[in-house]
């Protein structure tokens, strides 16, 4: 009789299960993303190369970057490439600057901004 009560009580106590998250967590993580995305927006609108050109000049609001089509074959690189590799191509060519490491904070921020401006568009990998 005693055992059953104990078991019942044990079951009734709320346990802190490993990865359960709350609404507050979601909001906090969303804010983290927004911070990085906004940093990306700043970078996108600044002169990252050596010739005073900024990404938004050819791509206002990130238009015509087509992030949903990557990875795809890029003639300019002679291989199937990712969005980040093309960001580096732009940094080196139209912006006459230096490439960023593919895993750098700046690169991640740029990717966050570019994809955010294209939110809602279905994936179309490989599409030219």
């Amino acid at each position: 009789m005693k055992h059953r009560i104990i078991v019942f009580l044990a079951l009734a106590t709320p346990l802190a299960l490993g990865d359960e998250f709350s609404q507050k967590d979601l909001e906090r993580w969303r804010a983290e993303f927004n911070t990085v995305m906004e940093k990306g927006e700043k970078l996108f609108h600044s002169t990252l190369g050596s010739n005073q050109v900024s990404c938004d000049q050819c791509h206002p609001n990130g238009a015509n970057t087509h992030p949903e089509t990557y990875p795809k074959f890029q003639k300019q690189l002679g291989k199937v490439a990712t969005l980040r590799e093309m960001i580096n191509w732009c940094l080196q060519n139209p912006l006459e600057g230096k490439p960023l490491p593919l895993d750098s904070d700046e690169m991640i921020a740029l990717e966050a901004y570019i994809t955010w401006e294209r939110r809602g568009v279905p994936l179309a990998p490989g599409k030219h």
Binding site: F73, Q76, G78, K79, V80, N93, E96
Partner: protein, 370 residues
């Protein structure tokens, strides 16, 4: 009308030697797509062998001294090593002889793309006054119809009697031969497509990275994931030789336009008048955008085909790299992909090592190595 059909053949165990006429095999084509063959001229060994014979026949010239092989010497990687070629009676032309090796992959022929096919290209030099010097193709047709050896060869290749042989059959045979003068299978190809990571020296590997990155070469000298043609088949103004005409363009262009309207033969004008030659692709299309534009050469076997550029003005690969590093020769029509590169001395040396690794195994013993 033209439907392209491609021929891929099963690999033959015997490696292809430079002097044998053989249909290309898989190993020789490593790094290249199948050879494009037009539907109206299927490729056979008989045609190719006949084509080789015609290619080397010196009787097809006004004084019996000039054959195709005179400027496109098989023993010199199918070119002549001169800045500009010399035809009949030692007359100098205006353009550097391109190699025949891999010319089958171009979508147009000549530096300015004025002919669409190998067949069409092969007929022009015969009747150019400073190349073979014939007035028309009739002497050639007469020879092939009367010569017993040719009678037999044309019968075998085309199934036609002598009386039906035309200059177009001659052209088709020559083009067929040229379609066997193809090769990939260079150290670069083995490294990039053959999986042999030891095929390139460390310097050439660094050079490949420069070629694709800081050097920007790959924008026009195409490398793709399974093949590399090293040409985009387009026309670009680098400014080579442009200084010769730049200040007088306002004069030269209207003169040229009038001549073209009066139906003057541009093939002859291009090789005999230096100024017209410098107009490049414009002479063919009449588009102002094409002024001073020349076709992107393939870089395969480039180490064997000095000197370089349409006028042969750059003698060595080092000079070529320096030229690009400076940003070409600036002019208003300069292709906007050309700009100063700011390469280091090591990057330039590595680039040259890479370019030297583009020599096909098949032709490695031909030509004079720099």
């Amino acid at each position: 009308m033209k439907i392209r059909c491609f021929i891929t053949l099963i690999s033959i165990a015997v490696p292809l030697a430079a002097n044998e006429v053989k249909l290309p095999d898989a190993q020789a084509l490593l790094g290249l797509p199948p050879v494009p063959v037009p539907a109206d001229n299927p490729l056979t060994l008989e045609k190719a062998r006949l084509g080789r014979k015609l290619f080397e026949d010196r009787r097809f010239s006004a004084d019996g001294t000039i054959s195709c092989a005179h400027c496109h010497k098989p023993e010199r990687a199918f070119q002549d090593g001169l800045p500009v070629s010399e035809g009949i009676s030692g007359q100098k032309g205006t353009r550097n002889a391109p190699t025949v090796i891999n010319a089958a992959y171009f979508t147009t022929q000549f530096w300015d793309g004025r002919r669409k096919t190998l067949e069409a290209q092969s007929k022009d030099p015969f009747i150019n006054p400073i190349e073979h010097g014939l007035k028309d193709h009739q002497p050639i047709v007469d020879i092939v119809r009367r010569d017993q050896g040719y009678q037999r060869d044309f019968k075998q290749a085309f199934g036609i009697p002598p009386s039906q042989i035309t200059i177009d059959h001659v052209a088709q045979a020559i083009a067929s031969f040229e379609r066997t003068v193809v090769a990939g299978d260079s150290p670069f190809d083995r490294y990039q497509f053959g999986g042999d990571k030891n095929a390139l020296s460390p310097s050439a590997i660094r050079g490949l990275a420069v070629f694709r990155g800081k050097g920007r070469c790959v924008s026009c000298h195409v490398i793709e994931s399974t093949t590399a043609l090293f040409t985009d088949n387009r026309f670009h103004n680098l400014g080579v030789g442009f200084g010769r005409i730049e200040t007088r363009l306002a004069e030269i262009i209207p003169t040229f336009r009038k001549a073209k309207q009066a139906n003057q033969d541009i093939d002859e004008a291009i090789l005999t008048q230096a100024e017209i030659s410098e107009l490049g692709r414009f002479a063919v299309t009449g588009e102002v955008e094409d002024i001073g534009g020349f076709k992107t050469s393939t870089l395969r076997n480039i180490a064997l085909t000095a000197p370089y550029m349409h006028d042969g003005s750059l003698k060595t690969l080092e000079e070529v790299v320096d030229f690009y590093d400076r940003g070409g020769f600036d002019n208003p029509m300069l292709d906007s992909g050309i700009r100063p590169l700011r390469l280091t001395a090591e990057e330039k040396a590595d680039l040259v090592s890479f370019l030297k690794s583009l020599t096909s195994q098949r032709f490695a013993t031909t030509g004079v190595q720099p």
